[in-house]
């Protein structure tokens, strides 16, 4: 490890230190605000440190990591999201009497895991990143331990995650067994010349897909999603929905691009089936759902399905589309759960549709923000979601994945129904004027309100003027050697 390497790993290192620092501070003297500030600052610092790495082609830290434009972009995305989530968390946890401080440590750690994933080029680093992410998540999910739902969610997630990562590991082992290397590049070279993958290798890939698929919560590995989303505290749900998926997706893209998985019809078939199944199942499951958190969970499943479509395009345009969509999806999801978090009170999260009846007339601004988020999820113009969906469709049409595209269109119509249903509920007249809940201290309140406002603005900005973002993404992929010749 040279100094250069450290420089390139700066964001990760900052996060690690921040985690340690938090632990020490907690040991010394518990104070929510201080911990929160440290966390926020560390995220910001890590994010800023990325600007050092602007425009780098690729710096490999053999054999585990490579820091390239792609990685930098995804790390940046993850860090920004984590920052926003921590903002939301502050107000959310301020109302609660549990020990709040450890939460931030775990948050930082799991963020660290996600960051590690997107730059890893080796099974070991992959595995480490994944596990750091997961183990922290188990605790985060069940953080409000007095709620039995949290514990139920936690245990479910734990067992299933471990179960799936067992598959992942075994798959890796098989791949290692048949190729003799654990670096992506090595695997690529090993299989480059053989047209037909040997069965053992194929099985290995298959089992890895299970592990990845679980984290991405695509059908049929999706079943945990609604329960965990429902059980976990709202900010954590946002985290699972965004950061953990984002990290894994980044990894998936890198790996696939590296080994050029698109050559193998088997893998394509599997992914296509998974994609279609996710779209259909996700939307149909959400159709008459009355629990907002579960609706969002199911919708996230279908959105992963949409992402898969672009991913399967398998060319430059496709990956750009995936990335763009991911950004849009992050903004939207975090925003949505932010609203949920904001409306939650001490005993339970605001998750039932009933909690939203007539929201527009009670809290117009919040309602407007939430409406914007939902419309973005539905892919309506003026929002980021629309441009994202457009990008994905473009990718699909471009490579003539007609079946997938048709499915996408069909499903987004079904999807409209339940998004609009929530909106409709918010616009209904409240028959009984709900007594105004005690407002939080403005300082706290401000944090989340500000964040929401920013998110909404971003949403509209990206929706109306996507050129800038597209510009950035295209540069990123131009610089990334992985994409060479695509």
């Amino acid at each position: 490890m040279t100094q250069i390497d450290f420089l390139h790993l700066m964001p990760l290192i900052i996060l690690t230190l921040a985690a340690l620092l938090n632990m020490l501070v907690v040991a010394a003297w518990r104070n929510h605000k201080i911990i929160y500030v440290i966390t926020a600052v560390s995220f910001v610092a890590a994010f800023l440190s990325l600007f050092e790495l602007r425009g780098i082609t690729a710096h490999a830290i053999e054999p585990l990591f490579v820091i390239d434009g792609f990685g930098v972009f995804y790390i940046g995305l993850i860090l920004a999201t984590a920052l926003v989530i921590s903002m939301l968390s502050y107000a959310y946890f301020e109302q609660r009497e549990e020990q709040k401080e450890e939460y931030y440590i775990l948050l930082i750690l799991s963020t660290l895991g996600a960051c590690t994933l997107v730059i890893s080029t080796h099974f070991a680093s992959l595995f480490l990143g994944l596990e750091v992410l997961s183990v922290a998540l188990y605790t985060l999910i069940s953080y409000l331990r007095t709620r039995e739902r949290s514990d139920e969610a936690g245990i479910k997630y734990l067992i299933l995650a471990a179960f799936s990562s067992a598959f992942l590991l075994f798959g890796m082992a098989l791949v290692y067994y048949s190729t003799g290397t654990m670096t992506f590049a090595g695997i690529a070279t090993a299989i480059a010349d053989l047209q037909e993958l040997p069965l053992l290798l194929l099985t290995g890939f298959g089992m890895m897909i299970i592990g990845i698929g679980f984290k991405l919560s695509v059908v049929p590995f999706h079943m945990w999603t609604p329960d965990v989303y429902e059980g976990a505290p709202a900010p954590v749900t946002a985290f699972i929905a965004t950061v953990s998926k984002g990290g894994v997706l980044g990894l998936l893209i890198r790996f696939f691009m590296e080994v050029d998985g698109f050559r193998y019809p088997t893998l394509i078939t599997i992914f296509s089936i998974v994609a279609i199944a996710s779209m259909i199942a996700g939307n149909l499951l959400a159709l008459l759902q009355t629990n907002v958190k579960r609706i969002l969970a199911y919708s996230s499943i279908s959105h992963l399905g949409y992402l898969m479509v672009a991913f399967l395009a398998g060319n430059r345009l496709g990956v750009e589309a995936v990335t763009f969509y991911l950004v849009a999806y992050f903004i939207t999801t975090v925003g949505a759960f932010g609203v949920v978090a904001m409306l939650s009170d001490t005993e339970r999260d605001a998750e039932l549709l009933e909690d939203y009846r007539g929201l527009l007339w009670r809290r117009p601004w919040t309602a407007t923000a939430f409406t914007a988020m939902l419309l973005s999820l539905a892919g309506i113009p003026l929002t980021a979601g629309f441009v994202g969906k457009f990008y994905v469709l473009a990718a699909g049409v471009n490579t003539q994945l007609w079946l997938l595209v048709a499915m996408l269109v069909l499903n987004s119509v079904v999807g409209l129904y339940y998004y609009i249903k929530v909106v409709a509920v918010m616009f209904q007249q409240p028959e009984a004027e709900a007594e105004p809940r005690p407002r939080l201290r403005p300082s706290i309140y401000l944090a989340s309100v500000g964040t929401l406002a920013v998110l909404t603005l971003l949403l509209v900005l990206v929706g109306v003027y996507p050129a800038a973002l597209v510009e950035v993404i295209q540069q990123v992929f131009a610089s990334a050697p992985v994409m060479a010749g695509r």
């Binding site: 245990i155 479910k156 067992i159 299933l160 179960f163 799936s164 598959f167 069965l199 194929l202 099985t203 890939f205 298959g206 089992m207 897909i209 299970i210 698929g213 679980f214 059908v219 049929p220 590995f221 999706h222 079943m223 945990w224 609604p226 329960d227 019809p265 088997t266 078939t269 599997i270 089936i273 199942a281 149909l284 499951l285 159709l287 008459l288 759902q289 079904v414």
Partner: protein, 628 residues
Amino acid sequence: MENYIWLIPALPFLGSLLLILFGTRLSRAGVAILGVGSVGVSALLTILLGLQFLAEKPAFYHQEVWQWFNVAGFNPSIAFHLDALSIVFIFVITFVGFLIHLYSTAYMAGDTDFSRFFACMNLFVGSMLLLVMADNLLLLYFGWEGVGLCSYLLIGFWYKEPANGYAARKAFIITRVGDVAMAIGLFILFQTFGTLHIQTILSQAPEVWSVGAQAAVLVGLLLLGGAVGKSGQLPLQTWLPDAMAGPTPVSALIHAATMVTAGVYLIARMYVIFDLAPVAQMAVAVVGAVTLLLAGFSALTQYDLKRVLAYSTISQIGYMFLALGVGAWSAGIFHFMIHAFFKALLFLCAGAIILALHHEQDMRQMGGLRKSMPVVFWTFLIGAASLAALPVITAGFYSKDQILWYTLAGPQGSIWLYLAGLAGAFITSIYTFRMVFMTFYGEPKTQVAHPPGKVITIPLVILAILSLVGGFIELPHNFAHLALFSGLMAPVLPGITANELLAANEWLFQALAAVVSLGGVLVAYLFYQKSPALLASIERSSFAMALHRFWFSGWGFDALYDNLFVRPYVFLANLNKRDIIDSFYTGLARTAEGFHVMFSQTQSGVLRNYVVGIVFGAIMILTISLLL
């Protein structure tokens, strides 16, 4: 003078516009002045124009007000074409119209919607003038529909009574059926000639179409369809009797004198087409003949005074069609004019009677009015005589005799048509004098409330005079051969020459016609005056009763159409009220929800099932990788 042509239709329109806008604020006198005045002035203009026309004898006057629109060479104008034919029509429309307006001021005096009445009447006169003055078929169609609207508004004038509304709708819709045919005719004409300008079409048609050309026949029949709709001929005659629901002046003006003869005008106007399409022309004749008989028989059985007149109108227009059908163009138009006089007269008299008997229309409740309202009696008698075509003295005799004569002796004439006409004449005089005897003779049944005033009687007298002397401008060849009218028509409509053989003893047939009409009077006298018992005994027989019922119901056409079109349509409409197609989409929604329920079973919340899910996925993936 001819620069003021546009004023003739414009004035009534203006009048109605003003009445619509300010009618509610004006006093009754004001309304009357505006309403009657506008028509009066345009009548005056017409007469002046007519005199000038007679003096100058030009082919026609033409005036373009503005170009309506112009799309890819389809450029109809708001432009007027006045030749003898249209002049006769506008004369009748404005002059008779004026008289009837005058009469209405008294007739409608008591009505709350005084101004609305005159607004509609003026609007009607305007549209009717547009119809007959139009230089292109689209503008004609404009007027054509306009008069339809007015007749709708006026039939349903007393809207509080749902039956009237029904009659009005019936009239509008049935005439619309005819209009559709006409519209299609226009499409073909436009496609063929690239214009709807009447004179152009008339001049080009012989070049484009050979005699009997399929298209010409088609157009002819379609135009005929339009004509029968407006003129209440078979098979679209059913609306006219019901149209009597409107105020009597309306029946007089619209449903006797002017609008219903629009069909006659149309056919006469487009005579070239019919010349080129013998089949169509024969159809015209046949329609006329059949209609005049059917309507005549129905008229025999009616008790409602106005209904009798309505049926007689249908039958008389049948005569006009017959004339046009056999190519006796000017004879048809001549009869139109005379008919306008005496039928308007009869209606106005009927109106006077009805008013006097406070809206009693059933002839069985009348009688003995000879004494109580002499003026009405005499004028009505004159009108009746003219309708029954009593020889020599009445105008009706000359016009009808001409028709009968050419039906037989004309080049396209046929004995059957002639016999039909003759029989019609016989029936006509029977039902006419049946009216006379039932209303004016016998002992009074209802007391006369108040005898009609001057405003009512003056128009009666004028019309009575016209329906006597009107005939003398056109006398048969064999005595005092005088052909003012047909002379006037000659430049517009082709003349007709009688078969030489028959021409020799034309007087014979005139005598026959005279005998027939007189015979009719005699029969009527016998049955309704001398010995009603005789009639009663006949009517008692079951066959007669059935026949009576059948004729009374206008040969059951209403029932037929009801069962054939109206009921099925309404049934169908109500059957599909919920829109069957919609259920398909709702079905889709249901299916989706069904799937939702099915899927949500899998989310059991039981940890082990989730594990099973993953394992299932694993198996799927592995099998795929094994199979492929």
